[in-house]
Amino acid sequence: MSRGRQIQRWKWPGIAAALVVLLGGCGEGIEPRNDLAQGPTEGAGGLGSPDGSVDMNGAGGGGGSGVTFHGNIEVVDQNPVVTLVANPGNSGFEAVTATDMSTPEEYATLALTCYASPDACLADGCGVLATCCIDNGTCCKPIADPPLPLEIDFRACEGLDLGSCAAGDGTTAVAAGPSLPLINDRGLVPGGDATSEGSAIIGDPVDLGHTRVRVDVEFALPVGCGTSCLESAGVTFSGTTPDAFVVAEVGLLLSGSRNQVSLMIGDAVAETFDAGTDQTRWSLILSPEGRVEVLRNDVGQGAYAFEPSKLRQALLVVFGRSLSEAQDSAAIRRIAVETSFCDIPSSWDIRAPVVITDELGTALPTERFGRGPSVASSGTEIRFAYAMGGEIFWGRGNDVGLVQLISSAPALSPSYTHESSGVEDPDLVFDGTEWHLFYTARDENGVGSIGHASATTPEAFLTADPSPTRTAAGDVVSLDAPTVHWRAGLWVLIARATLRSGATEFRAYYTPALSTNWERIVGSGLEALTRVEDPGSDITGPSLVVHNSAYQLYFGRRSGTRWTVELLGSDELLLWRPLGEALGPSGDGFDRLGARAPDAISLTDRIELVYEGQNGVSFELGWAVRPAPSDTASAF
């Protein structure tokens, strides 16, 4: 607001706080930064650019202040980007890098742009990065059996009742209000009057939390409608079954007297447009991240925010009021719908407590208090592991939330000195041949290291290696909570490191084979993004998967007493994109206050996640599922 116009916008506490920060000298410049700058001291890295012109703000070794990719081939040598990329076959990544790997600055330049801010994926060229497809309602795949009709041309149904008309187009339509819509040569006349609306529900409920929907609609404008007529027709999504009135959570409504089409959001007018003619085609494009775009004859009219959380079982409703003769009333000539589903991290369909049974199928009620659950797929079965009492148990995931133990005896018990205080935080991995278990091993002083065990046959107990696969070193005094991702030729390990300072952060390592040493990934922004120095918070329990050509790293964050599962995305394990809360409090049941300790598996059409639910009294094992398309997931 300009003082020059003599308008004063009052200041608020946030502004004052910002001033305090600035006056305190905390500002480090005005260039956008990725906030990934501080470097740890363990391992290699710390290469800097004299000019710093393309600052990737990665972490560096030796206390380096940041790593740049700009023309510095050594950094690329130390971080084999092509090897680390989530899906080397991803055509988008190839477009950037494969043509000339001697000029990595091309990728660095693009990545700097595309990781610069939460909405940076909207920048030109960023669509090639797979992480830009996460939490992006424009990056979706068609639904094989769509819940809504591809098209209904009501005019072609003249003389039919509503249900028959819909059935002809392979869908359903059910009148919902006190008066029945009718169909004539103008289309669907909604019915209704001054005291109630006529309405009908089209098709099946749709989850707008992860579904992208485009609705095209053509209205028939009422004939002879003066400035006070009530003729109206609309199409909307509603979270409730209509009665006398339709709650238009997000939709379009034609007003005859106003000669306008209104965008309705939250049952209130959010914007109005000139109604045009009977030939005007209106389109609503609803993206599950909460964005609705209005098009008029395919020309964008604006984009607006709506609340998808109210529309997890959304009904497509046609509605309106018709006081005139039917041949003069406002009507809906035609609707057409396209649906596709998207990777929206917070849109979970199922959140269920885990029930664990013994080999005979008898429920074991105390096992629900297990810790650090892990889930993995072999392509033919899903295995589930958890820790309890310093030992690790495993079983088969027979269905969502149902686990049958392979044996009531622990799959892994402490055997070596580095495990003397117990084993915990299991992470199961199947490498195409055998099951591997990575875990936290704690010695008599509670110092953690990363253990490895394997099972050569599906029914065997796990056999631990006599020494840890990765131990704390350098400035790291303890390592725990491992997550491991495998693909042919690459193992990636991310674990929580406790530093000498008492701070914790995630660190990432890789190796081509378990028989060789883990190399630390240098220049990664992961450390700074996950560093915790405040006792009022905590970050732990990472889980790394590749889904739809992008790394997705789930982890638990504690703020005060409340845990939430958050998500980071990365294309190559060097730059990371904070994607916010993925699984929060449900408000009811075993996870009503929060969730932590996630472990995810990527499947072709969904993400499944096991976790610990928080209810204020205890933590109990849970299992969540959300739709999410992927071209790089297991087909299991």
Binding site: M1, R5, Q6, I7, Q8, R9, W10, K11, W12, P13, G14, I15, A16, A17, V20, P178, A194, T195, S196, G226, T227, S228, C229, L230, S232, A244, F245, L253, S255, G256, S257, R258, S262, L263, M264, I265, G266, D267, A268, V269, A270, E271, T272, K310, G320, R321, L323, F369, P535, G536, D538, R558, G560, T561, R562, L593, Q614, G616, V617, S618
Partner: protein, 660 residues
């Protein structure tokens, strides 16, 4: 001499102040002490905002703020002497064998501890929730009698302490989920923890009483989200200060905490030899703008006697004024908007509104009556009927009038000298539903009609940023309004919900005061700067101003929504020692730390409604003329009826503002 709110002047001259918030007993602000013209705007930012050398709570400007308030109302007082502790405490875990605490006496006081378990923690959890959202205190005494096997530099397996928790039980083998816990370990180590993670520590001796006080106060975090901050004092030493303890939205809001959210307080112990003494909790007894008392006389269009012709489908957006008259203690003037068509038709057709006036002269100091109202019967201003939806030919010449506000100008005896009425009005030839603001004085009684001038007092053309001006309200620039008013209004900038409240300076002659060729205007509230509760829009400011010797205090109630349709009532406050500033400037308004003060889904709003079928549609606020320490609110709500109909109610609420 015309006197506006003369009782305020009288009060100030007599040495008392009316700068009261609900349930407040104010100390005089420091204007006369530090001599500055500024105000300590932020009471917990570590800065001396008014540069009077007093920082935050040191500055008496802040004495009544939640960040600094020291007055306490006890909420729990436990001396552990009751024969049956289970009447007030849950013995947790509730599964397993019953157990009893040891209750030794030290220095004449009874302690509890040794909960018959050396294997797993046990706890006594208060049955009642303890209100903390507006600030509070927990005090107790800890004592270790046996340090055997334990040192004062490390936790050990024998301890006892006090815990603040949402939990009502304990999982076997687990500790209570601690929003904050202060625990004495047998060796003398005192740990302050959250989520069982140490956040502070200190050490004490063995066989001595260790006094512990936990102070919690509401504050806003960097994202304007309400949180509780905790300070822990052990043996007079502050071991933890301003620790962000909980989001206020995470607190319990049931039972004893229904009005002021809070937590359970608990005593948790493992092993022998460590005990917890008498335990008390208290809540702050300063500002509580969220505390309302519902009155019995809920009004409707029918009870007020308005004719159906102009209000059959809707009555709402009340304006309320209070004065004394010769016949009774209190006279109430109520003006409402109404229509013969429901507002829900607005998306499909133009709905017109008119204003009706009702007056109750029979209030003898209690509740008002349901049937004693003198009314205008028809519209006091506007057309009858005001709306013609579905009527062939319509009523295109009608001018819709909406959202009235009344400002009472009173004599020294608090009798009504006049009313100043402001309302939103359409401004032909602009399209329907484009509103400007009309201000009218005098108003007269209910049967005195008010003619609507051809041109509004303030037109949307005068305020280019706003396509329409709604929800007007007035405050005087000085106690007698001799220099005019500030006109608050909602600035509508598009078809969606408004996000800004502006104010324009109005002269005594009811003309817009100009500055630089346009109205002297200030932006008062902006939704995006208020916090999550206002993300989806704000409207309907209801300001009240108080003048005293030391300065002025402006309170602004307004409606805010976090998502479309969930309107709640919120509050912002502004203060200044500079009484002269109002001629050209408004003091900066800051949101109350615990907004909203009345949620749309609160029992008060939903009471007597079916399910969730009630919503706030408007609010009016005024002082009671017979008791300036009491605010009367009139909450307008629209109620869905079974079968599809809707009706409207005006629900009177009161808040007590204590005198010093």
């Amino acid at each position: 001499m015309r006197v506006f709110v003369a009782f305020l002047l009288l009060a100030s001259m007599s040495g008392c102040t009316l700068l009261n918030a609900p349930d407040r007993r104010l100390q005089p602000p420091d204007g006369g002490v530090d001599g500055g013209t500024g105000i300590e705007l932020f009471c917990d930012d570590g800065l001396d905002d008014d540069q009077d050398s007093f920082f935050d709570c040191e500055d008496t400007d802040c004495a009544e703020e939640p960040a600094c308030c020291e007055r306490r109302t006890p909420t729990l007082d436990e001396d552990w002497t009751a024969a049956d502790l289970s009447l007030a405490w849950v013995f947790a875990p509730t599964i397993g064998d019953p157990w009893l605490p040891a209750r030794p006496t030290f220095d004449g006081a009874t302690f509890v501890g040794s909960f018959e378990s050396s294997e797993e923690p046990r706890a006594l959890i208060s049955n009642d929730c303890v209100s903390l959202a507006l600030g509070g205190w927990v005090t107790t005494t800890l004592r270790s009698t046996d340090a055997t096997g334990c040192t004062n530099d490390a936790p050990c397996d024998r301890y006892a302490g006090v815990v603040l928790s949402v939990a009502t039980d304990l999982a076997p083998g687990s500790k209570l989920q601690d929003e904050l816990a202060v625990t004495l370990h047998a060796g003398g180590l005192v740990l302050v923890t959250q989520a069982d993670t140490e956040v502070a520590r200190t050490t004490t001796g063995i066989d001595q009483n260790v006094e512990v006080e936990v102070v919690v106060r509401p504050a806003l975090d960097d994202e304007a989200k309400p949180i509780l901050k905790a300070t822990v004092v052990v043996e007079g030493e502050t071991v933890l200060e301003g620790f962000p303890m909980s989001d206020i939205q995470d607190l319990l809001a049931t039972g004893e905490c229904e009005q002021i959210p809070g937590l359970h307080v608990a005593v948790q112990s493992l092993g022998d030899g460590v005990y917890v003494g008498p335990l008390t909790t208290a809540k702050q007894d300063c500002a509580n703008p969220g505390q309302f008392q519902k009155q019995v006389a809920t009004l409707t269009g029918a009870s007020l006697g308005f004719a159906l012709s102009w209000r059959s489908a809707y009555v709402g957006s009340p304006a309320l004024a209070s004065s004394r008259n010769a016949l009774s203690d209190v006279q109430w003037d109520l003006i409402v908007e109404g229509s013969n068509d429901p507002p829900e038709l607005e998306p499909v057709a133009h709905v017109g509104y008119a204003l009706g006036h009702a007056r109750d002269t029979s209030d003898e100091g209690d509740d008002w009556s349901l049937d004693g109202w003198i009314t205008s019967i028809g519209p006091k201003a506007g057309d009858d009927p005001p709306s013609c939806v579905g009527v062939p030919g319509g009523c295109d010449d009608n001018v819709s009038l909406r959202e009235p506000h009344l400002l009472a100008e009173l004599t020294e005896e608090q009798a009504l000298r006049d009313l100043v009425l402001s309302f939103a009005r359409e401004v032909p030839p602009a399209p329907p539903d484009v509103f400007g603001i009309q201000i009218v004085r005098p108003v007269g009684g209910p049967t005195t009609p008010v003619a609507v001038p051809a041109a509004p007092t303030l037109s949307p053309n005068d305020v280019p940023e706003c396509t329409s001006l709604r929800d007007p309200s007035l405050i005087p620039v000085d106690p007698e309004a001799q220099r005019g008013y500030w006109l608050f209004f909602t600035c509508v900038q598009g078809a969606g919900a408004a996000t800004e409240i502006h104010a324009v300076r109005i002269s005594r002659a009811l003309e817009v005061v100009l500055e630089g060729g346009g109205p002297l205007r200030r932006i008062v509230l902006t939704a995006e700067e208020l916090g999550p509760f206002a993300t989806a829009g704000i409207r309907s400011a209801e300001p009240l101003i108080s003048f005293v010797e030391e300065g002025l205090r402006l309170r602004i109630w307004f409606l805010a929504q976090s998502t479309p349709g969930d309107w709640s009532l919120a509050l912002a406050e502004a203060r200044s020692h500079d009484l002269e500033m109002l001629a050209f400037e408004l003091p900066e308004a800051l949101p109350f730390p615990v907004n909203p003060i009345l949620r749309g889904d609160s029992p008060l709003v939903r009471s007597d409604c079916l399910g969730e079928d009630c919503s706030i549609t408007g609010i009016a606020v005024t002082r009671r003329a017979d008791d300036p320490g009491v605010l009367r609110f009139l909450l307008a709500r629209r109620v869905n009826l079974p079968g599809g109909g809707r009706t409207d109610q005006l629900v009177p609420l009161e808040q007590i503002w204590r005198m010093p």
